[in-house]
């Protein structure tokens, strides 16, 4: 009798739900912390899962994406294609195969 997971799913993908590949567009300020490129690849079925995958690949991104409590950073704008995730459940927003996530720091002041 098999009681555990079988197959050859990499352990980090166990935590990503039905992970799908997505492209994440990074603002200039985050590029040096990641690959240096304007876009990186990641996987996940929700914004939270994609963020977890990004942090696994580029740990230095964490403070720019998430609060210490694990919520979305309040000065970060996140779009799934053209849609602002604030109106889609924030970190729980669904991400589909080949979607593009765009991350942009809020532009604000007084």
């Amino acid at each position: 009798m098999v009681t555990g997971k079988v197959g050859f799913v990499p352990s980090h993908l166990d935590q990503l739900g039905d992970a799908v590949p997505v492209v994440v567009r990074l603002p200039n300020i985050l590029r040096p912390i990641a690959s240096g490129e304007a876009s990186v690849n990641a996987e996940g079925a929700t914004v939270r899962a994609v963020f977890d995958d990004l942090v696994r690949r580029y740990p230095g991104l964490r403070p720019s994406l998430l609060t210490p409590e694990g919520d979305m950073h309040r000065h970060l704008n996140v779009f799934v294609n053209d849609d602002d995730v604030r109106y889609l459940g924030k970190l729980e927003a669904k991400v589909g195969d080949a979607d593009t996530l765009t991350l942009m720091p809020a532009v604000a002041g007084g």
Binding site: D84, R86, A108, G110
Partner: protein, 136 residues
């Protein structure tokens, strides 16, 4: 370097937004002479804050500006906003929330009869005014 018609458009947008603060994004590229960056287009934005003391570039306008800049072979290189009652100098909130040390932050003060426009770099909390060239 900022073409005069874009400079005027920035100020006009700020006047249109009164009594609220006005804001927008600057798109550009490195200037051909290697002396700095050239503003090639600007994108007026709505402010989600709808305030005379604060501004927040509407996220959808930010995304649109980024896409339009990229399509034109440009990058977002800065932002501008107005101060309706104070001088054209970054407020503590501006400094604390400046997202990118590589950006140009343009302030348009409408506190006097004549608008005053100045541009700054904000790096690690340090504000430094920069020279702006308006080509003839």
């Amino acid at each position: 370097m900022v073409p005069g018609h874009l400079w005027d458009k920035m100020v006009a947008h700020c006047l249109d937004c009164l009594p609220l603060e006005g804001c927008g994004l600057l798109a550009g590229r490195a200037d051909e002479a290697g002396r700095g960056e050239e503003v090639c287009d600007i994108f007026p934005a709505l402010t989600a804050a709808r305030s005379a003391r604060l501004y927040i570039v509407e996220p959808r306008d930010l995304l649109r500006a980024d896409r339009a800049a990229e399509a034109a072979g440009l990058s977002l290189i800065g932002a501008w906003h107005s101060h309706t009652h104070t001088p054209a100098y970054p407020s503590p909130t501006d400094v604390a929330q400046a997202p990118d040390p590589g950006w140009h932050y343009v302030l348009v003060s409408l506190s006097d009869l004549e608008p005053v426009v100045r541009s700054y770099r904000i790096v690690n909390g340090v504000v430094k005014e920069e020279l702006v060239v308006l080509p003839a």
